[in-house]
């Protein structure tokens, strides 16, 4: 039995070397957000509830409910699929540490929310129109 378990641990360790594909999504922010660029780690912190600030100002993440851009963003910057990602948020909600971020249908709804709410940060497909918001460069 123990040999099987050790084999499992070895196989799991091999996954460390998996290479990720680059995402075709952009991160957008309300014009009130001071930051113009964001590191992958800071972005992950904001979208996993570990942090509520960017560039010295408060931010509020907004999520896509589903879709390709959602999957790509989560895979590239969070390292989880949608189910695991939302399970992480539920852990925070059920332990009293956070409120679940708002989720909307489609890129247009993300742009609409981000453009009208101070501190809002979201993600959309590169190809989607995004007038009225700023694009954050990923360091």
């Amino acid at each position: 039995m123990k040999k099987l378990l050790y084999a499992f641990l070895l196989a799991a360790s091999a996954s460390i070397f998996v290479v990720q594909a680059k995402a075709q999504v952009i991160v957008i922010a309300n014009n009130s957000v001071k930051a113009t660029e964001v590191s992958k780690n800071d972005l992950k912190d904001v979208f996993t509830g570990a942090s509520t600030s960017l560039g010295g100002g408060s931010v509020v993440p907004i999520l896509l409910k589903s879709g390709t851009a959602n999957e790509e963003f989560l895979q590239a910057y969070i390292g989880k699929n949608d189910t695991a990602y939302r399970a992480g948020w539920r852990s925070l909600v059920f332990s009293g540490q956070a409120t679940m971020p708002k989720s909307v249908d489609g890129d247009a709804a993300v742009v609409e929310f981000v453009s009208h709410n101070a501190g809002a940060v979201g993600y959309i497909s590169k190809a989607s129109p995004h007038d009225g918001v700023k694009v954050l460069a990923i360091k």
Binding site: M1, V18, V60, T83, R86, S91, F94, G96
Partner: protein, 391 residues
Amino acid sequence: MNRLLVGALAFALGAIPATAQSLEDLNIQIHGYATQGFLYTTNNNIFTTSSSHGSPAWSEAVVNVGAQPTPKLRVGVQARYFLLGNYGNTITLDWAAADYKVNDKFGIRFGKVKTPTGLFNEVQDIDPSYIWSLLPQGIYPITSRNSLLAHYGGVLYGTLDAKKLGKLEYRAWGGVRVLSEDDGYFLVQKESGSALPNGLTRINEGAAIHWKMPLPGLMIGASNDREMTSTSTLTQVIALPTTTINLTGTEKIDSLNKPNFFGRYEHNKFMVAGEHFRFPVIGAVQFGAPPASAFRVDQQAWFGMASYKVTEKLTAGAYDSQLVNRQSALGPGRYQKDWAISGRYDFNQYLYAKAEQHFVQGTALGYDTTLNPNGLQPNTKLTVLKMGVSF
């Protein structure tokens, strides 16, 4: 009554997932989850269930209501129905707290709040959040979970940016912890005729540090929960051939420290974690005139675990968990070793199923004598199946 409430809760959980959305106008959110477990053991009956015949006596349902009236202020409350064998079968308050977060560096939470000890204590009751059906029982015993989860008081928290050295998350807490009369810690005592009719109320304080290291995904940490000296009323029933004698006395437990040391590494689909925990108790019981009768417990427990996301929906994992009570007599009752393999399948973001196989040696945890009248076997295989829904 409780079964009616559970039925209503389960119906609500199943029927209204759509209402999980934020109620925008009031900035209120409603979330919940429910689980149903099944236990089967090859030898001993575990967790006060009739598991050697297969037992479905493991149900939970949780409803959470939260609001964020301002960006920095959150309030929330969470209620739970819990049934495991003879434990629970009642609705309790998990937590009810207000949280004011000034910024990432400082926030305060107060009310009935989760106690942030160890790697899992804050989330050990949140079944949808991890792969395991049972967390390592030496550190996170499910029969004492409701008592250990939270305390009445407050938590200070924050994250300090250590630049190239990573980030330091801190927690500091204080308040009062209440262990109810029927808590798992008192099971053996209770079966010998002793009872703490008012439970055990202890002042506690503690702190925790989680160091998120420069290597992404790597965290190491430590916590210590200190409980102050407490004295509780103790009753003892002595059955004699012709009569019974009821005695009333006191149980005193000295102040104690409960330290945890832990670490976790996550990368892509892979997670590995480990933890060590010590629980040293020195106490005394006294009926009538001195001398008091002293007792000691010195439990040390640790585990190593790993999980891997095999596909989008399937996660597999394994852990080795061990516990030893260094004050206990030699024999199977002194220790518990538990190898577990686990699988979780997420049908969608709401519904999941878990299966887990344990290979248990030793009898230090989870057993009662009433449901094991012929004594305990030193080894047991335990199979756990679980279904859960969350929104």
